[in-house]
């Protein structure tokens, strides 16, 4: 690997809009559509919004700025970026943790994209508004058909591979600049339809009535914390990878931090406005997760005028939201593996997508396996990846150094000293708290035990792999930075 032939010049985003839509496309996923509206309504409505907004500005905005800035500063994928900061050696394995978590995440996210694809196709066929249609039975039959699930998983990974092979500008950017606005337009049209239905105001009241007492409840803050961290994709390596393709004079904090965090959350708010007025207008019980998207809402469409068209808007939008996330999650591995091996981009895409496809078969075969992996990686794998990225920035590179050299360079807004302690202390402490909280809440459960395996094994695997790989020869062009900056 050390003497790999030089590859062609690194790709860049063609436009500023392309970069911004890539960030939003990556971060807006299933959680914004099927989780956020319910969590909001169920945790004090307006009180939850306030808690969420505070945590967004306190954690997600500064964290995303840091992650994008690291990618931009190093112009490398996760492992290369870690090597630039840590110097060659086993500790670069922290980057391997991020890579493994992304591959694991995508292995069960791809079958989920397959679900949205299946429902999007059926919405186009007007299945949900056909006479005699039963939403529950339709979903049960679909989930019981393992061959169909695996087939959809295959189509999703094949499509992602086909787009990624085209590259950053001709593949990813060309798709997201249309897909993200299309998702927003679909939700806006659905919102207008929903708000003009009789009884829609009950849905608005459910979401936006303010239970001030909820602000004193720890559950509200835990729910807001989970939403602020997991929904924005902070520390998963996506923002780092997307940031590594920024151009010379591009800004980091305004686009990569403020716009990404607020824009991504705004789509969650819009999804809430699109979904709940309709759900309440028809008198269906609000729900979260697959129950909301694939049962409650599907029951609603036949009941409302133009329901067939609303179903198309919703499911095609939902598919675009999950598909663009899957695309960028996979790009994290493609960028890194391509940089770390002799494989060209096409070979890398085929290897990565093939590997994810193989690993995703159990999740495609059984929704229970998917749920199990989602719980384990959502509660422990992703926080571990965040801890690796923010930990390296906060405690090795140093937030002040990064702020001087990358965050405030070509920046659209000035980032002051307040940012340094947030990156160094607050975000790592919050991630440790989250992992500890979920371990305590699920003590001795199989998911908790699996989560502990992830927490212990992934760092060991990462360290072992990079100790062997880095031992073969030093990578050129690396800068070892030690000790943090304050």
């Amino acid at each position: 690997m050390a003497d790999a032939p030089a590859k062609t010049a690194r790709a860049e985003w063609g436009t500023r809009f392309g970069f911004l839509m890539a960030m939003i496309g990556a971060m807006v996923g299933a959680g914004n559509i099927w989780r956020f509206p319910y969590v909001m309504g169920d945790n004090g409505g307006g009180a939850f919004v306030l808690a969420f907004l505070v945590l967004l500005f306190l954690l997600a905005v500064p964290g995303l700025m840091a992650e994008v800035a690291l990618g931009r500063y190093t112009n490398k994928g996760v492992i290369g970026a870690f090597r630039d900061v840590l110097g060659p050696g086993g500790m670069v394995g922290l980057g391997v943790i991020v890579l493994l978590v992304n591959i694991a995440l995508m292995s069960y996210y791809s079958p989920l994209i397959g679900w949205t694809l299946y429902y999007a196709v059926h919405s186009l066929l007007f299945t949900f508004t056909a006479s005699g249609f039963e939403a529950g039975a339709f979903m049960d039959t679909f989930f019981a058909n393992s061959a169909l699930m695996i087939g959809l998983h295959t189509i999703v990974m094949g499509s992602i591979a086909a787009i990624l092979i085209l590259g950053i500008r001709r593949g990813v950017e060309r798709l997201v600049v249309y897909a993200v606005p299309a998702l927003v337009i679909a939700l806006v049209v659905m919102t207008i339809r929903g708000l003009t239905l009789p009884g829609a105001s009950e849905g608005i009241t459910f979401m936006f009535s303010v239970d001030w007492g909820a602000l004193a409840a720890s559950e509200t803050w835990i729910a807001a914390l989970g939403q602020a961290l997991f929904s924005t994709g902070l520390g998963w390596g996506i923002a780092l990878t997307v940031g590594s393709y920024l151009r010379e004079y591009d800004d980091v904090p305004l686009g990569g931090g403020v716009f990404t965090a607020l824009g991504e959350s705004s789509i969650g708010i819009l999804a809430a406005l699109a979904i709940f007025p309709i759900v309440f207008a028809v008198g269906v019980e609000p729900d979260a997760g697959a129950g909301l998207a694939f049962v409650s809402l599907v029951q609603v469409f036949p009941e409302i005028p133009l329901g067939g068209l609303v179903a198309i808007l919703f499911f095609v939008g939902f598919f675009l939201a999950t598909f663009t996330s899957g695309l960028l999650i996979t790009e994290v591995s493609v960028t890194t593996v391509s940089e770390e091996t002799r494989l060209d981009r096409t070979q890398t895409v085929l290897a990565v997508c093939g590997g994810i496809w193989l690993l995703g078969i159990p999740s495609a075969y059984s929704a229970d396996i998917l749920d199990f992996l989602d719980f384990v990686f959502g509660n422990w794998g992703l926080p571990l990846a965040t801890l690796a990225i923010i930990g390296v920035i906060g405690w090795v590179l140093g937030p002040k150094r990064l702020r001087m050299l990358a965050v405030n360079r070509n920046a659209g807004i000035y980032v002051g000293k307040w940012w340094d302690p947030v990156i160094k202390y607050v975000i790592p402490a919050v991630m440790l708290f989250i992992m500890g909280y979920f371990a305590w809440e699920n003590f001795r459960e199989p998911e908790m035990i699996a989560g502990m395996f992830v927490l212990v094994l992934f760092p060991i695997i990462g360290y072992a792999i990079m100790s062997v790989v880095e031992g073969r020869g030093e990578k050129p062009g690396t800068t070892e930075v030690t000790g943090g900056d304050d």
């Binding site: 436009t15 500023r16 809009f17 911004l20 409505g45 307006g46 919004v49 907004l53 009884g199 105001s201 009950e202 608005i204 009241t205 936006f208 009535s209 303010v210 004079y249 800004d251 305004l254 686009g255 403020v258 716009f259 607020l262 824009g263 959350s265 705004s266 708010i269 819009l270 002040k400 150094r401 702020r403 001087m404 050299l405 405030n408 360079r409 070509n410 920046a411 659209g412 000035y414 800068t479 070892e480 930075v481 030690t482 900056d485």
Partner: protein, 105 residues
Amino acid sequence: MPLPAEVLGMLAFTLLAFWGIALWALTRTLRQESRKVEILKHQDRMDTYSPRALADLREWIENNPDDPLADRARERYNECVDVLTQTDRHFYDWSDAEIERLERL
């Protein structure tokens, strides 16, 4: 059912706080991009730090001369100073007096 004033207020606040800020950030960053493109059509380089950010960078370099990244920081500082003194169009709000006071490190 008419919506209570509290619900309407919260809805308005939420839309303003999320969509308002997101659209402000989007508009601002796209306008800045247009301005950068315009400047780069006129000259091949552009100032990279605002006055406040460049002052921070200088202070950090002076306080940490032996830092492993001090050379890189110095390069970036000098690059910005050179561009400011050699070009006539600037992205950030630099006054002539501020530029005159700048010195390479």
